[in-house]
Symmetry: C2
Subunit: 440 residues, 2 copies
């Protein structure tokens, strides 16, 4: 890194793509490291300088360039805040096919650069499918204009895909063309209590079969996580007596175009589940009002806050096969137990929750304090566990600077070697977000 002599603590805020291009060209000629920055809401340090890189903030580039309400195609500057795009689309009966907790400050360019997942992935798929075009300033300052508004275009390599999830290491995304979805007319949800984790997969299968195209979320919450949410007053849903003996919970959401139809499907599903012998569920609560809909979601969305009220959370955002969710949580807890770390003044809770539909488990280890002892018990243990199941050590948060050392647990040597060659091809001087994704 000592070949970079950027002015540290400098943040530039260009107003348009041409200015970005000129800055990058200047930096490339002088070998000045650059960190592209969107809303700076990432969780793995991808938008933070390591040393003395120049920060290029996209925050001044906030124009919506075009929207076609027939095709649903939106073209916007990279600095547009996700919530602003949602607000812009609402009167046009469309939504961004992406929703995140950080929507109030994250930017669409950052979303694309980190391949953000979030709550709508089950329904609308990943950004690799919904992003139609990008405008990118390459590390030598060249503007790569692939800002097409076409849904189909099979003319040569789909270069834009490389920048989706590259975390700003191959260039700076300055413009995004994305396919917005029709706004659903009605949403509903139901919280289900399950006697055993073994029922989660049969339940998922049944729910997919019955709800099919209106299913928009299938979220798993293990018992300990649920209890912590309740303890800390997040949401309020099921009677204590009803959930006695429940090993885990599932929150199902529907979104569709006709409320009566969707409610009928959801009611029928719940009746079928309750009447089945043996039943896959202990009980289920269907939201009967917007307030209850919000209250059921509040349990799921309040989990992060509950953890932080309990102590310091080690958070692992992993993908593993669905049927291994519980095994990963239990094995981690057993491992910490065997190290004598499951005690009130060390690790208090090992809990799991996440997007079953996406195979994405959020494993949380809540400790009294962050300590080297706990950390060394957890890493590389968790990464090795994920690798054993051919999982991903970062389902949606990315690699950033925090996980570069762990990349080999999810990507083999050939893949990493090809990534390095791609990086070198685009950025031979290594100025673009150095030390992110790939180690220096």
């Amino acid at each position: 890194m000592n070949k970079y002599h950027g002015r540290s603590t400098t943040v530039l805020r260009p107003r348009n793509t041409k200015e970005v291009s000129e800055i990058v060209k200047h930096c490339n000629e002088r070998r000045i490291g650059i960190v592209p920055q969107g809303g700076n809401t990432g969780l793995v340090g991808g938008s933070v300088p390591i040393k003395d890189e120049l920060v290029i903030s996209l925050g001044n580039m906030t124009n919506i360039r075009s929207f076609d309400d027939a095709s649903g195609i939106l073209v916007a500057d990279a600095g547009c805040i996700l919530q602003s795009l949602s607000d812009y689309l609402a009167p046009h009966d469309h939504i961004v096919p992406l929703d995140l907790g950080a929507k109030g400050s994250c930017q669409i360019g950052g979303n694309v650069s980190t391949n953000a997942g979030g709550l709508r992935l089950l329904r609308y798929g990943s950004l690799h499918g919904s992003v139609l075009g990008l405008e990118v300033v390459l590390p030598d300052g060249t503007i790569l204009d692939q800002l097409t508004t076409l849904r189909k275009d099979n003319t040569g390599y789909d270069l834009k895909q490389l920048f989706i999830g590259a975390e700003g290491t191959l260039g700076i995304v300055t413009g995004v063309s994305i396919l917005a979805a029709s706004a659903p007319q009605a949403s509903n949800n139901v919280m289900l209590a399950l006697p055993t984790f073994d029922n989660v997969l049969p339940l998922y299968r049944e729910v997919k079969r019955q709800l099919s195209e209106i299913l928009s979320a299938f979220e798993f919450i293990d018992r300990r996580a649920y209890d912590l949410a309740v303890k800390h007053g997040q949401g309020r849903a099921l009677n204590e007596s009803d959930v006695e003996g429940a090993e885990c919970f599932v929150l199902v959401e529907t979104s569709g175009s006709k409320r009566e139809h969707d409610e009928e499907k959801l009611n029928t599903l719940l009746e079928n589940l309750m009447e089945a012998e043996p039943s896959l569920i202990n009980t289920g609560v269907l939201a009967s009002s917007p307030a209850q809909f919000a209250s059921l979601w509040a349990i799921r969305e309040g989990l992060t806050e509950s953890m932080s009220k309990e102590g310091k959370a080690y958070k692992y955002d992993i993908s593993v096969p669905l049927h291994k969710f519980k095994e990963v949580i239990d094995t981690t807890r057993d491992h910490l137990q065997s190290k004598g770390l499951m005690r009130d003044d060390a690790v208090k809770h090992v809990v799991g929750y996440g997007h079953v539909g996406d195979g994405n488990l959020h494993l949380n280890v809540v400790a009294d304090a962050y300590t080297p002892e706990i950390e060394s018990a957890l890493e590389p243990f968790v990464y090795e566990l994920v690798a054993k199941y051919k999982g991903s050590i970062s389902a949606e948060h990315g690699i950033g600077v925090m996980k570069t050392h762990a990349l080999p647990y999810s990507k083999n040597a050939v893949s990493i070697e090809v990534m390095k060659r791609i990086k070198h091809l685009f950025d031979p001087n290594g100025i673009m977000n150095p030390g992110k994704v790939l180690e220096l």
Copy 2:
């Protein structure tokens, strides 16, 4: 090309990835050109040797490696025929998120390599979203194993995307991991006659709003194309008196999980459309039986055959903004008229049809015979027209060998330069499907 000394007319049919790797390594060391070949159903010559390249057919690699009916993730050898995969998934209540006319012989590896579009794209999105992993033999024989079965994995660059649509020029796809969709429980369709093309977009907007998540096709057919289909006995749907004065037609398909709900939505749509003043449509016919459903589709699917019965068809598979569909057809006809070519012994018909939802127009110029005069009147005229609207000269068929010269009409110089550098990075000896996508 004269640096390649492969044994022409040689076809090798390896049985597994290791054999593919060994063959490719051998060829790379001896600078022998290779053409990877799937079902050989492409329309732009992408799987045909230009000179004396060795053909590697994937036809012997037909194993289904795994299927998980909870997640819907299917892993299969590249040589699996699309129809075989459909047949395999049917008893598991799943479908391949891709459907093509050539499904009886095209292979999933070829589908991925050409980024095939087809009839389900409107509903299930492109392969860039539904393909989860690939196994690829690189041009030096190295096996790049990215055959993950994870729906989410943000660990480094998404390399597999480069091979989707690269038409075998960067490596040979040998294995595919793909997200299958839940099989719809019910499908229905309606054929609508429109007084004027100007109503197509308002109609599309209204249909999307009312049918939303169950809309699975919105196909446009212009009057001349419809008349040719009827003339040649393709399907049988609307009364002659009802369609008098109709300028074009739209076929709408729904697919959903509950027949009664879907039919109610479709009936309501049709009633609303008929009752509106002024109405967007002249008339509409709703399929009331599986036979009628098939008969309505037969009009759309019989268009290609009708053209070939009328004469020789120049076919352009283009993407242009939706509101330009008619303009492109009319402008082309006017241009041929001005050249004196619109006459019975030259160009008989200029017709258009296609996937409105995808912005994909199939422009067909039906002539008495293929002649240099017609060809030079059409090209580069049509490509320039597409470029003027920032469209794509190949929406779904790809570039192959037929359109390499036309690539600059849809991709700018910077994009093509980056493509060339990517090609050189993966295939410095130029052995992998030489002369396809990029000119030699």
